[in-house]
C-alpha cells in the first residue's frame, strides 16, 4: 500500500495532538462513531451485506493516523490501524480528511474526486465501489450523528460543532493564503522555465523537420510493406 504526500488542511495542524492522544481514547471515539453510524444508517450496512465482510484501510493524507474499517452487516468496526495488518486489508482509500467526509455525506461526487486525483484507491476496486454506492444511497448527516452520540448533551454538541466548523473555515482560508505566499515565487519561476522549455522544444522540432527534409533527398526507399508495430499494451 502507498504512502501519499500530506495534505495541507486544518486537520494537519491537529497531528501533534493526535500523535500524543492516548490510543484507547482514539479507539473509543472510533468505536462510538461506528456504533452511531450502524444504528442511524442501518440500510447502508444491509445494502452492502450482499458482499462478504471486508476490511479497508482509510488513510487521511492530512493525519498521522490511518483507520481500519471493517464492513460487516452486523458487526462493523472502526479503529486506528495497527502496523502489519496490511495483509488483512482488501483495499486502501487515501485522500484529505475533508474530502473523505464529503464522500461519506454524499456532498461530493466520488468519481470526480477520483478523476481529479484528490482520492486514490488501491486494492479491490469493486468493494470500494460497493461501499461508495451503499453510502451514497443514504442521506448521511454527520452533524446530527455527532449530536446524537452526545445523548442529552446533543444540542450543546451541535452548537460546539457549528463553532468548530466556523473556525475550520477561517483556518482553511488562512492556510490557503499561507500556502500561496510560500509557493508563488517557486511557481512563477517554474512558469518561466516551462515557457523556455516549450520554446526550445519548438526549435528542436523545427530542426528535426529540416534534417528530415534534407535526408529525404539521400535516403533509399525501403522495399516491401511497412511493418505495423501496433500492439495491445504489454502485461504489467
Amino acid at each position: 500500500m502507498t504512502e501519499s504526500y500530506p495534505s495541507f488542511t486544518p486537520f494537519f495542524l491537529a497531528n501533534p495532538f493526535i500523535r500524543n492522544a492516548p490510543t484507547f481514547l482514539v479507539a473509543r471515539i472510533c468505536h462510538q462513531a461506528m456504533a452511531t453510524m450502524h444504528h442511524r444508517y442501518r440500510p447502508v450496512f444491509e445494502r452492502i451485506a450482499e458482499q462478504e465482510a471486508f476490511a479497508l484501510l482509510i488513510s487521511p493524507t492530512d493525519l498521522d493516523l490511518q483507520f481500519y474499517l471493517k464492513i460487516d452487516a452486523d458487526h462493523p468496526e472502526l479503529r486506528p490501524a495497527r502496523h502489519g495488518e496490511e495483509e488483512t486489508i482488501a483495499a486502501q482509500i487515501s485522500g484529505p480528511l475533508p474530502a473523505l467526509l464529503e464522500l461519506l455525506q454524499g456532498s461530493s461526487d466520488g468519481d470526480a474526486l477520483f478523476f481529479s486525483r484528490t482520492l486514490r484507491i488501491e486494492g479491490r476496486t469493486e468493494l470500494v465501489v460497493a461501499l461508495r454506492n451503499a453510502l451514497d444511497g443514504e442521506s448521511i448527516d454527520l452533524r446530527s450523528a455527532v449530536a446524537e452520540s452526545f445523548g442529552v448533551m446533543g444540542p450543546a454538541a451541535k452548537v460546539a460543532l457549528g463553532l468548530a466548523e466556523k473556525i475550520y473555515r477561517q483556518l482553511q482560508h488562512d492556510m490557503n493564503r499561507t500556502a500561496d505566499a510560500l509557493t508563488s515565487p517557486t511557481a512563477t519561476r517554474l512558469l518561466g522555465l516551462e515557457k523556455r522549455t516549450s520554446a526550445q522544444a519548438a526549435t528542436m522540432a523545427e530542426i528535426e523537420k529540416t534534417i528530415q527534409r534534407r535526408n529525404r533527398h539521400t535516403r533509399v526507399k525501403p522495399s516491401g510493406t511497412a511493418k505495423d508495430d501496433f500492439a495491445l499494451p504489454a502485461n504489467p
Binding site: G106, D109, E122, T125, E126
Partner: protein
C-alpha cells in the same frame, strides 16, 4: 425537451427529482440493466417507493431493462418487464427484440422505448422497431451528427432521445466486445462494462497505473487526470507513438448546442451516469434544468461549468458536431 436523468439509488432519484428532472431512469439490482455495479440499483420495493415519490412530484420514471437475455435465463428479464408494469413504471427501455416482443404481447399498453444498446441509427431500423413492437421513442446512438438527427426526425414516426452529458462510448453501442475480451463480462450480456472486480489501480511513485484484468490501460503522470480503465479509452503504443487510439477519456456535454438539438426535433435529453453519486446528479441535472428553462425564455448561455465532474475533466460535443465521416 424532456430532461431524462439517471438514478442508481433511491437517494439519487430524490436528488434528481429535487434538481428538476422531468424523468428519472433506473434499473433493477441484477443483470437486466446496463449499469449492474455492486451496491447499485433498485430492489422491487425501493422502485415502488421511488415511483410513488416521483409521481407525487409530477416526475416520470423509466426502467432500463436494456441488456440481452442470456440463453436459458430469459425468465429474469421477463420478470423485470412484468414487475416494472406492475409497479407503474411510465416506460420500459429495451434493446433485445425477443424481449420487445414479450413486452408487446404481455403488456400491450406499456410504453416501450428503444435503448441505445439496440444501436438503431437509421430510418429503416427505427421503422422496424416501431411497426413490429410499437416502440414510441428511440434513444439514438452517439454516432449521429445534428444534421443526421434532423433528417431522421423528419422521416420517422417516433420520438427521439439523445445523450446530453456523461461518459462516451466508442460508437459501437450494443455491439462492443472490448470489455468481454479483457474480462469475460460485457455491458451487453452482464450489464457492466469493465466490471469493477477486474479494475485495479496502483500508485507507482507519482504515477497512477490503471489496469483492467491483465491489461495495463494507462499510466497517468502526476499532472494528468485519471480515468476509468476501459479498453476503448486506453493509451496504447503504435508505430513508436503512444496515445489514445480509440478515444480520449473525455465526456459529452451538449450545453453549447442545446438550441440546435431542439431545432433538430429532439424530444428528450438523456444524462448518463446511473453509476455516479447523488452530488453529480444534483449538479448536472440542476445545470441542465437551468439551461433548458433559459432556452424556454428565449435565452441561452453556451458556457458549461460541469467539466470538473467529467471523466478526464474535459468535454466534447462528440459526433453532433463531427467533422469526420
Amino acid at each position: 425537451m424532456e430532461l431524462v436523468c439517471p438514478a442508481g439509488t433511491p437517494a439519487s432519484l430524490h436528488a434528481a427529482v429535487a434538481a428538476g428532472a422531468d424523468v428519472v431512469y433506473c434499473g433493477f439490482r441484477d443483470a437486466t440493466n446496463a449499469r449492474n455495479f455492486p451496491g447499485l440499483n433498485f430492489s422491487r420495493a425501493e422502485l415502488r417507493d421511488a415511483v410513488e415519490h416521483a409521481h407525487k412530484h409530477g416526475v416520470h420514471v423509466y426502467l432500463a431493462c436494456n441488456t440481452y437475455p442470456q440463453a436459458g435465463a430469459e425468465e429474469i428479464w421477463h420478470k423485470a418487464v412484468d414487475d416494472a408494469v406492475a409497479i407503474g413504471i411510465d416506460a420500459i427501455i429495451l434493446a433485445d427484440i425477443g424481449l420487445l416482443r414479450y413486452a408487446r404481447d404481455r403488456h400491450p399498453d406499456a410504453r416501450l422505448h428503444l435503448s441505445v444498446q439496440a444501436s438503431a441509427s437509421n430510418e429503416e431500423a427505427i421503422r422496424f422497431y416501431h411497426q413490429e413492437f410499437g416502440v414510441r421513442r428511440v434513444v439514438l446512438p452517439r454516432v449521429l451528427s445534428l444534421d443526421e438527427i434532423r433528417t431522421l426526425n423528419q422521416r420517422i414516426q417516433v420520438e427521439t432521445e439523445v445523450f446530453a452529458f456523461g461518459g462516451m462510448c466508442v460508437m459501437a453501442e450494443g455491439r462492443c466486445s472490448l470489455s468481454s475480451y479483457a474480462t469475460g463480462e460485457s455491458p451487453n450480456m452482464n450489464g457492466v462494462c469493465s466490471p469493477a472486480a477486474h479494475v485495479h489501480y496502483e500508485e507507482r511513485g507519482d504515477a497512477t497505473v490503471s489496469r483492467l484484468g491483465n491489461f495495463t490501460i494507462n499510466i497517468y503522470d502526476s499532472d494528468e487526470k485519471v480515468g476509468y480503465p476501459t479498453l476503448c479509452k486506453g493509451r496504447f503504443r503504435a508505430m513508436d507513438k503512444s496515445g489514445y487510439l480509440f478515444e480520449e477519456p473525455t465526456s459529452l456535454d451538449v450545453t453549447a448546442i442545446l438550441p440546435e438539438l431542439a431545432d433538430a426535433g429532439v424530444s428528450a435529453l438523456k444524462i448518463e451516469g446511473r453509476q455516479r453519486g447523488k452530488a453529480y446528479i444534483s449538479q448536472v441535472v440542476g445545470a441542465f434544468r437551468a439551461s433548458l428553462d433559459k432556452i424556454a425564455k428565449g435565452q441561452h448561455d453556451a458556457r458549461s461549468k460541469l467539466s470538473t465532474l467529467s471523466e478526464g475533466q474535459s468535454d466534447t460535443t462528440g459526433a453532433y458536431r463531427r467533422n469526420w465521416q
